[in-house]
């Protein structure tokens, strides 16, 4: 029967897991959406638009021809791209759009072959090298004579088809020195754009840099272009592969794109993490459900069944059935760390709500399953949260054998850890529950104070005999704690000790003492306070005034009234409050006083110290 449920549980688990995957499907859709975004980023059309367009600023002594050879574009193409004709003036400083490197008269399937003229090379040499004729080269490059300049790049032919068709235009425009400055503004703006484009170019090694002096402005400008022989793109302006794309596209652009891709990947990863966490949570919940089913059976069997040898509390043995059940439980769950922790949590939960024999049985189970070692291991862990967890378990299961270890942690520099240790020590002690505070040299927060009190009050027959000792502690926060405890437990006979604390140098201690004294009334307190008043700080003085208000001894009303006029607003407020607190004082009188205060304020009343 039980086996069956476990099996069923397993199927259920599997089913749940598959169901959880549905969430993943949605995740996949989102991922697909994002990936498509990612690929659209990489798409060549964006790449082409960005890098293919070049601009050239005409320098002095440059001709259309020299420009055309520089970029390996025909003159007619340049003219077409710039809406010019052959008679147009090409002024220095004019910005020309250079069409992409692909000449229109070349079939799409062809590639231009270039040759850069080396020293002592002749037309003939070059022609034979590329299997063509000198005339052909002259025609292709629109050369005027046989003289070659070293370093000039020539078109020597096309791949695939041998050239049959000579180019028509063989025009060289004479260079003209002109100082047309008409559209300088737009020129400059364009220049900026140019620079931005220039920004986009990678390292200098791959660029040809042309620096020329402009005689008119006398300033240097740069035009950076990609040298054609380095251009890794095919005729369509696309990069051959992704590697080239990353290698040759401009650096800032590259950074941006890689950044965007990284962020998109981050989005995908975060989405997956979120969904996985969700799924894991569901799986854990299911596992816990499965565990709980078995666990409830177990608890019912072992804890809530009456047994014959009930009287024999400490020697209690498990019956045969129970032993079998325990064994099965251990085999099924306790080999997995996850379930061990769940077992600890559940046992503690059960333990908390039980007492007497049943609680003892739960404790036995805790030992039987060897969960104690888990707990002790946690206390030794290097991570403080683990330690805290271990201490909690020690405290809740009353594992007294860990007392020494926990005690060693009450002054630990980690606040959470030492507070937890203090609480555990408090509840593990058998008598004089608060004595560990004598050894405390770290401060106690109000929060911890409250927790200690709450814990103490839960202990049956708690023992606070040593409170007076705590008053002598060099740790002011322990003094404050002790004083408040005296108030909390109405320990009237300790009042003299509290009065003694008014001489303590620490302000917090004094304030706590005054508060406690106002609660535990004693005739001598007021005299002590009044004698102390002049030398005290503002905060303590306010507290004393409050004391007078609360205890409401009428003979001091005059003093309070006098103090309302104090130039110190805090003291004045405290006096007003105190006066209002005195039950005998009619409200009208207070109002009267408040009214008169405004008129009297010019008369400086004696400072608080003079009473």
């Amino acid at each position: 029967m039980r086996n069956n449920t476990t099996l069923k549980g397993k199927f259920y688990l599997l089913y749940k897991q598959i169901e959880c995957r549905k969430g993943f499907l949605k995740g996949v859709f989102i991922a697909a959406f994002i990936l498509s975004l990612l690929f659209s980023l990489l798409h060549p059309s964006i790449v082409k638009g960005g890098v293919a367009l070049k601009k050239h600023k005409v320098a002095r002594k440059e001709t259309l021809y020299s420009i055309s050879t520089k970029y390996h574009v025909s003159v007619s193409e340049i003219l077409k791209a710039n809406n010019l004709n052959l008679s147009s003036k090409i002024d220095t400083g004019l910005l020309l759009i250079i069409p992409s490197t692909q000449p229109s008269n070349v079939d799409r399937g062809n590639t231009i072959i270039y040759h850069t003229v080396a020293k002592k090379e002749t037309l003939f040499k070059i022609a034979t090298k590329y299997g063509t004729t000198p005339n052909n080269i002259i025609q292709l490059n629109k050369l005027t004579g046989n003289n070659l300049e070293v370093g000039v790049t020539l078109i020597v032919g096309y791949k695939n088809n041998q050239i049959t068709q000579p180019l028509n235009e063989a025009v060289v425009l004479p260079q003209k020195d002109n100082t047309g400055d008409g559209n300088s503004v737009s020129n400059t703006a364009t220049e900026v754009a140019d620079k931005i484009v220039g920004l986009g170019e990678p390292d200098k090694g791959k660029n040809r840099q042309v620096e020329e002096k402009d005689p008119n402005g006398g300033r240097t400008h740069e035009v950076k272009t990609r040298a054609p022989q380095d251009d890794p793109r095919n005729k369509k302006g696309e990069y051959r592969n992704l590697g080239d794309y990353f290698k040759y596209s401009s650096l800032p652009l590259l950074i941006l794109r890689i950044g965007a891709i990284l962020f998109i990947l981050a989005i995908v990863i975060i989405a997956v993490v979120i969904l996985t966490m969700r799924t894991n949570k569901t799986i854990d919940d299911n596992k816990k459900q499965q565990f709980d089913k078995f666990f409830q059976d177990l608890v019912a069997q072992i804890i809530f069944t009456d047994k014959e040898n009930e009287t024999d509390e400490f020697e209690e043995e498990f019956t045969h059935e129970q032993a079998k059940l325990i064994e099965e439980f251990e085999r099924e769950f306790l080999t997995i760390p996850f379930f061990r922790q769940v077992a600890i949590d559940r046992l503690i939960e059960v333990y908390k709500s039980l007492s007497g024999l049943a609680a003892k049985r739960v404790e036995n189970l805790y030992y039987e399953f060897d969960l104690v070692n888990d707990t002790l291991r946690k206390i030794k862990s290097a991570r403080w949260e683990e330690k805290v967890r271990g201490i909690r378990e020690v405290e809740q299961m009353h594992l007294r054998q860990a007392y020494k270890q926990v005690y060693g942690l009450i002054n630990h520099p980690n606040e959470m850890l030492r507070y937890e240790a203090q609480l555990a020590v408090l509840s593990l002690r058998r008598a004089r529950h608060l004595s560990f505070l004598e050894k405390l040299d770290t401060p106690l927060s109000a929060w911890q104070h409250m927790n200690l009190v709450a814990k103490l009050k839960k202990i049956p027959n708690y023992d606070v005999r040593n409170l007076n000792k705590l008053l002598d502690s060099p740790n002011p926060s322990v003094n404050v704690f002790a004083i408040r405890m005296i108030q909390d437990f109405n320990m009237v006979k300790n009042v003299p000790e509290v009065q003694r604390m008014l001489d303590h140098p620490n302000e917090d201690v004094k304030v706590a003492a005054i508060k406690t004294l106002s609660y535990l009334h004693n005739d001598k307190s007021i005299l002590k306070l009044l004698s102390a008043y002049p030398g005290e700080s503002e905060r303590v003085q306010s507290e004393i005034l409050k004391y007078i208000g609360v205890t409401g001894s009428g003979e001091h009303g005059g003093m309070l009234r006098q103090l309302i006029g104090s130039s110190n607003t805090n003291i004045s407020h405290a006096a007003q409050e105190a006066l209002a607190l005195m039950s005998y004082q009619p409200l009208d009188e207070l109002n009267l006083l408040l009214d008169s205060k405004t008129t009297e304020s010019t008369k400086a009343l004696p400072e608080s110290g003079n009473i």
């Binding site: 969430g23 995740g27 989102i30 959406f33 994002i34 975004l37 980023l41 964006i46 790449v47 960005g50 890098v51 300088s184 503004v185 737009s186 020129n187 400059t188 703006a189 364009t190 220049e191 900026v192 754009a193 931005i196 484009v197 986009g200 800032p252 652009l253 941006l256 794109r257 965007a260 962020f263 998109i264 981050a266 989005i267 975060i270 989405a271 979120i274 969904l275 966490m277 969700r278 949570k281 949260e385 805290v388 967890r389 909690r392 959470m416 937890e420 401060p443 106690l444 927060s445 109000a446 929060w447 104070h449 409250m450 927790n451 009190v453 709450a454 926060s477 407020h573 209002a580 409200l587």
Partner: protein, 494 residues
Amino acid sequence: MDLILEFIIQLIINSILVYSIAICVAYAILAIISAISISDYLRRNKYIDYSSILSSSLAPSISIVAPAYNEGMTIIQNVRSLLNLQYAIYEVIIINDGSKDDTLEKLMEEYDLVPVEILPEYDLPTKQVYGVYQSRNAAFGKLKVIDKQNGGKADALNVGLNYATHKIVLCADVDCIIDDLALLKVVKPFMEDRKRLIASGAVVSIANSCKVEKGRLMEVHVPENFLARVQVLEYLRAFLMGRMAWSKLDGLLLVSGAFGLFDKEIARNAGGYDTETVGEDMELVVRMRKYMIENGLEYSVIYVPDPLCWTEAPSSYKVLGNQRSRWTRGTIETLLKHRKIFFNPQFGFLGMVSYPFWFFFEWLAPWVEIFGLLFFIVLALLGFAYWSFFFSLLAIVFSYATTLTLLSILFEEISFNQYKGKRDIVKLALTALVESFVYHPLTVYWSIRGNYQFFSGMKQWGEMIRTGFAEQNTKSQETEIHTVPDVNLHPLNG
């Protein structure tokens, strides 16, 4: 001439670039600090047992101050849920801010209120108080109702500060749903040994589409309404990424008006709420900080990342737009009023980091964004746009913003996991993907409009005060949460 123009254009482009990188880096740093801060909080509070504080006489007492204006429809329900909070010692002070409807009558009838003679403890200047009421029924002993002349939210809160008798004052919107355990959780920082805690707040969440019964939240869902859903993202980002980080750095400038705790004494000494600004919650925190620093007192302001307060977010464009414009106005007013702090080393972190951050990245961000966009359009029209660069930049900016948003969803998932349904989380994530395109431009528009309202209102300030009360007040009844606005990023020009 050319040189100058070229220089100017370069300068603009570069400064926008630097600004954008700075804002991105700032938000990344905030995200990292938030992550540390939240994980720290979770580890510290994993095993906290709040039951001991419930019965303890040592727990600090709290006064809840909730102004109500024309809340007749829901006031009974709201007050009941405030009275049912789990805490040992607290009082609820409802301030009827001159409601024109039957808010007061309903309260009087339901809770059997009678006028009592109670004098204020303090004397912050406020509009006239007509009377204080308490219940004859001892079961409602915690409740005090104060009737006063209409004066706006800040004025009502000041009345609350005057009458509050407990050490800590919780200023809350009367119509928001406060978690049963809220006071227990939020009071803990006040009890921990630190510097004096002068203000504290908790995460405010959006209750649209959630199942609410008798003023209690039963089921949490992601809002069906798109606008409300986007605001969920905004709030997550603002609270889990922004405020947590600022809290850790101790540079928090804002505790939301919907749920903010203050040290009564300091709030009073600093002068209470400023009735002349629409951003009174931020203004108070800044002023309290200023007060502490000027008086050489040690203090801190912290945030609790627990979602303890739930509020209905505006789901119409008009209301939301008004709210956002008002927040912008409040921010500007506060920043200008305390401009002394700006880069003033006397104010330490507040002056050197917090304030400048708000100034540059909260106030100016929409301006830079709009300016950048216009600048780019001009360049594009002149034909100088470098589209490839532009699109890449756009992609990185949007993907970065979305990453941050998803990260805040992840933080939520790890920390408090409010949205239990898988559908809910997927919906949120999908909303995050479109937010930058659809919603973000609107926020920029609203905040620019807020700027416009502020600067045009300056001229006729006096008049605005006289006629503006009724309107101002209805507005102030809406949810008052400032969020760190969206990661204000904008398309750069290349």
